[in-house]
Symmetry: C2
Subunit: 331 residues, 2 copies
DNA sequence: TTGTATGCGTTATCAC
DNA sequence: GTGATAACGCATACAA
C-alpha cells in the first residue's frame, strides 16, 4: 500500500489537512510542524497521489497531445521539442494518435477532454477544416494547434508561403522555367499555402502556372516519390526541376528514381524538398530544402498551453514562425 | 461544468449507484432502466470522469512509457508499435523521458508509480545495470523492459548475438579478415552482446580478435560515424570492413566519410549497420544491416503489460525475438 | 432490481 | 496555527 497523507498525519500527530498544507507550501504553518511533517514525509518516501489530488483540485497536471501519426519524422521532432521543454515543468504528456480525420479526431478530443484526463490539449493537425476546428473551440479546455494556423484557436505555425517562395525563386534564378511541384491528394491547408508561394514566385517571374506540372501524392514517402518520378519523366513536357512541398521523403524518392533513370541531379533535374528531416543529409546529393523549426514549434506549443492552463489567458495567440530555405546540393 | 453520474441519475429518477452499474455494464439491471439511463447518458453526452473513477477503483487505465530519449529512430519505431496495438485497448499512454541514467531513471519511475498515475510501466532502456533494475522490481506495479533482457523483470528483447554473428560471418565469407567494429563508450548490455557475436564469428573462422580494430563512439549518429571513419583510416593496419553494432546512423556516417576520402564502398571498405532504420535505404550504397523487429517489440510490450495489469500474472516473461541480417549493397 | 452508505486520497472552508 | 469536515465523481458492499 502506498503511503498517504493519513499515514504522515498519524505519525506526526496532526491532521491530514495540516500535512496537506505543508506539502503544498501553504502559509501560516509553524516552522516546527513544517519541519516535522516534511521529515516524516521524506522518511516514508511519500508521493502525493496525483489522481486524488486531481479529483480535489479538478486539475490533472497533464497535457494531452493529439497527433495524426507517430511515424512521421516531422511529428517526432515536434514531440521532441515538447518533451524537452516540458522536462522541468510539473506536467506530464499523454499521447493520443489518430489516423482518422475530422469527426474521429474530434470524438477523440472530446473524450479526452470530458474524461478529465488533461488540463489542456495540443493538437498537431493539418487536415482539419475550419468547421471541424470550431468544434474544438466549443470545449472550455485550452487547446493549441500546431503546424496549422487558425483564427479561432491558439496556433503555432510556420509561414508556408515564404519558404516555398524562396525555394522556387531560387530555382528560377538558376534558370529553371519548367518547375514541377508535388502536392497531396487531400485537403491540407499547409500544402495549399506552399503552393501559393510557388505560384507567386512563378507569377513574379512571368512564368505561367501549368496544371500539367502538378503531381499528386498520397503521402510524403520515398515510394510515393519514386512513383511520381516516373510520372514526371513520362510527361509530355518534362520539367527541369521539381519542388516537393509535401516533404523531404518524397523529394528523396524523386532523387533516387531520377538517378536510377540516368538523370544527374541537379544538372539534369533539380530537386527541392520541404521540412529538413535528418534523411535530407544522407541522400546524395544532399537535399536542398525548406527547413521548418520543428523543435521550436514543440517548445512554443508546450509553453503556450501551460500558460493558458495556468493563467486562463483569454486572448487568442497566433504565433507565426519563419521557414528557412536551405541550399545544399540537389538544386 | 461537465455532466456527471448525478446529472443522469436525477434526470432518470434513479440513484447514481444504478447509473454507475448501467454504465459499467453490470448484471441485474432491468432492461427498462438500462435503456433509459443509456439514452439519457447519450443525450447529455456523458463521459465518465476518469480521475474520479481512478480514485475509486485504484486503477488509472494508463500505461507509462519511460524512454531514454525521443530523438532516436529506434525508440520511435517501438513507440509506434505500442501505439498501433494500443489503439483499441482501453488504455492511454503517458510518456516519460529521461536523459539521465540509473538513479534518475529510477527516481522518475518511482515518482510515476507512487503518484498513482499509471497501472503499469514499459521501460525502454539499455544502460541500466542489474542492481538498478532490481529497484524497479521492488515496486509492486507491473513493469516490462523493452530492448533489454532481464532475469528479474518481464522483458521483450532481441537476440543480439545471432544477428551480429550472421553479419560478421557474412563479411568473413566475402573474404574479409580485418573487420573493424564500433562500440559505445559506456555500459550497454545490448552492444556488449553484439560484440560477443562478432567475437564468436571471428573465433569460428580462426581470426584473432584485435583491440586495435575496436572503435568507440558516444552516440549512434552520423557525426560520430564520420569522426571514427577518420580514426579508422589513420590506424596502422586498416580494416577492409567495418561493422557498426551501435546502429545505422553511425554506419551511414562511416560510408559518407569513406566515400569522401575516396574509398569505394563496398569494394574498398564494406560497411554493415544495425537496426535497419529508414535512412538505411536512402544512403548510397544502401546499407547492409541487422534488422531489429521494432514494431513487434512495441506490440508485444503493450500486450504483455496489459496482460500483467489485468491478470496479475506473476510469472516472469522473457520474450526473445530474432534479429534478421539484411543484405543490401554496402557489404 | 434498486437504493443507501461509505470510501478512494486530496484539497478547501470553516471554526477554534 | 491547526483541527474538523465537507466536497470532488465514481464504484461497491450491503440492505431493502
Amino acid at each position: 500500500m502506498a503511503v498517504t497523507l493519513k499515514d504522515i498525519a498519524e505519525k506526526a500527530g496532526v491532521t491530514t489537512a495540516t500535512v496537506s498544507m505543508v506539502i503544498n507550501n501553504k502559509p501560516n504553518i509553524s516552522e516546527a510542524t513544517k519541519k516535522k511533517v516534511l521529515s516524516i514525509a521524506q522518511e516514508l518516501n511519500y508521493y502525493p497521489n496525483i489522481i486524488a489530488r486531481g479529483l480535489a483540485t479538478k486539475r490533472s497536471n497533464a497535457i494531452g497531445v493529439i497527433v495524426p501519426n507517430l511515424a512521421s519524422g516531422f511529428i517526432m521532432r515536434i514531440m521532441e521539442g515538447v518533451k524537452n521543454t516540458l522536462r522541468n515543468a510539473n506536467y506530464t504528456v499523454i499521447l493520443f494518435d489518430t489516423i482518422g480525420q475530422g469527426v474521429d479526431e474530434f470524438k477523440l478530443f472530446q473524450r479526452v477532454v470530458y474524461e478529465g484526463r488533461v488540463d489542456g490539449v495540443i493538437v498537431i493537425t493539418a487536415g482539419s477544416t475550419d468547421e471541424e476546428l470550431s468544434l474544438f473551440k466549443k470545449e472550455k479546455i485550452p487547446c493549441v494547434l500546431v503546424a496549422r494556423q487558425s483564427d479561432i484557436l491558439d496556433s503555432i505555425y510556420v509561414n508556408n508561403k515564404t519558404g516555398s517562395y524562396d525555394a522556387v525563386k531560387y530555382l528560377i534564378s538558376k534558370g529553371h522555367r519548367d518547375i514541377g511541384v508535388v502536392t497531396v491528394n487531400r485537403k491540407n491547408l499547409n500544402i495549399e499555402e506552399r503552393i501559393e508561394g510557388y505560384k507567386e514566385a512563378l507569377l513574379e517571374a512571368g512564368i505561367e502556372y501549368r496544371q500539367d506540372l502538378v503531381f499528386d501524392v498520397t503521402n510524403d514517402s520515398i515510394v510515393d516519390g519514386v512513383h511520381i518520378a516516373n510520372k514526371i519523366l513520362s510527361g509530355s513536357r518534362r520539367p527541369t526541376a521539381v519542388f516537393s512541398p509535401v516533404g523531404d521523403m518524397t523529394a528523396i524518392g524523386l532523387i533516387k528514381e531520377f538517378k536510377k533513370r540516368g538523370l544527374r541531379v541537379p544538372e539534369d533535374m533539380a530537386v527541392v524538398g520541404y521540412d529538413d528531416l535528418p534523411a535530407a543529409l544522407v541522400v546524395e546529393p544532399a537535399l536542398t530544402t525548406v527547413r521548418q523549426p520543428k523543435l521550436e514549434m514543440g517548445d512554443l506549443a508546450i509553453n503556450l498551453i501551460i500558460d493558458k492552463v495556468e493563467k486562463r489567458d483569454e486572448a487568442i495567440v497566433r504565433r507565426e514562425l519563419p521557414a528557412k530555405f536551405i541550399i545544399r546540393e540537389s538544386a
